[in-house]
Symmetry: C2
Amino acid sequence: MTENHLELVKLVNNRLAELQYGQDPKELYEPIRYIMSLGGKRMRPLLVMLAYNLFKDDPEKIIDQAIAVEVFHNFTLVHDDIMDNAPLRRGKATVHEKWNASTAILSGDVMMVKAYDLLLEAPGNLKQIIKDFNEAAAGVCEGQQMDMNFESLPSVSEETYINMIRLKTAVLLGYSLKLGALLAETSQSNADLLYDFGVKIGIGFQLKDDMLDVYGDQEKFGKQVGGDIISNKKTFLLLKALELANEEQHDNLQFWLTKKEFDAQQKVKAVTKIYDQIGIHELTAAKMNEYFDMGFEALEKMEIPQEKRQSLKSFAAYLIDREK
Amino acid sequence: MTENHLELVKLVNNRLAELQYGQDPKELYEPIRYIMSLGGKRMRPLLVMLAYNLFKDDPEKIIDQAIAVEVFHNFTLVHDDIMDNAPLRRGKATVHEKWNASTAILSGDVMMVKAYDLLLEAPGNLKQIIKDFNEAAAGVCEGQQMDMNFESLPSVSEETYINMIRLKTAVLLGYSLKLGALLAETSQSNADLLYDFGVKIGIGFQLKDDMLDVYGDQEKFGKQVGGDIISNKKTFLLLKALELANEEQHDNLQFWLTKKEFDAQQKVKAVTKIYDQIGIHELTAAKMNEYFDMGFEALEKMEIPQEKRQSLKSFAAYLIDREK
């Protein structure tokens, strides 16, 4: 990230440290302060502010609206973690682990309400801001349901997979950028192009995520490399491997996918070897670049001074090159 | 309910039968259509329309906003039923029983988004409509958390209990009435008085609920009479009994509250007998009437023609006299 990016993230984190959400009963509001304090890249509020900054110079004015998207995102994490039975989030206990599932459901529900609340003082067309927010929010839920459905399917087509990550991850990144445009009250065409840019780099971002889970550097990655392989998670890498494997590779993959007891490291090594034989790393990188390129194309179409685009381009570059 | 009430409820049910919420993935949207089809009194949308009708004659114009509150209410039922581990809702399988907890969490989340969506085409001040909605929605969650907290407390004061039911039940009824006023763009004072009326009759409504669970006529009640006694639910009746019991009655109550194995009918009979000795039925009825009277007082303060108040008064009378 650039100096300017880091400064905006600092602005976000300072405001987040102030926000209380509510006090009583404490069992409801403590989990919110907890999950919001666990950190993260703060990508979504950063994107709101970067988009706003293309048109206006006072990003501190829209900090609460930027944070609305972060609160919503963290609400989805709290609920997803219950559904996925996940013990850890950002290296710390998940809300349902630290408290219990009921508290995680209910605190999550209030977080959604607080996200809408943070949008309310927005400059610009409130109705459109909330309408588009609703569309992105419903999309995220649809994507999560699709992802859960995938668990019980033998395989999934590339198209269906991309549609799932578009909904689960990319539309909220697209909305973040569009929100910045709506708050700055720029043209509908600029707002739509920013949305498109966000959705495309959002898909690229998730493909990078899938890739890092297998090919990341353990020292830098933060999570366990190979986690998706161990849990048979239907990622782009696995789906492509299932699609392109020859008979022997296919049998070999199925062997590991159906094996109930195994040595985790051995499974990761074996499946990665099949991926390598098929050239999955290169294929995924190529697909990722394809989406980032489509994003850059949308950016080029915007009616703004050329140099203004730079901050979004460097942010996308950071997403492409990141190692965690 | 009066003819006019029943006609408005019919309008609500017809519109509900049309609403699709979304299509794909079907696992996400089917549970929403299911829970919304289970019926219920449709009290909240009816209150929106009755309040609107005090000032305007075209309630069909605001039917979607009225339904927003019903969708939100049903969302809270879906999530509460997970937390309470409830197998049945309106005599049918709950969403988490018919599908699973993950689907119930996620479908509930989307219902909240759809509730906001249904508010968007509202006439009137959208910002205030959503701000007040958020306040009521957060209140409902706070009330539910308090109710859960009560389970692990030995007892709860009357004041704390009334505050819990105010949040869990009454503020949404108050909001429904206020929403009708906001949609009709009447004075802030009328809107506030309607809110106050709704909160007060909402508290009365919940006290009636507590009372029916013990003193209802099994033929008419629909649920199992005595259910709250069997589960040691901290209702107004139990709290008052714990507060007012003499030593012998207190010991007797504690005996049944702590007994792990018991015959359900025998427990219901024994606890009801203690309630009768203390005069809990009359006490609860008096408290209920107190709140309904406070509600009527708020109604009297409104600046509307006297005869206009009648529809709200008869609805409150129906709530007081209902047997299920």
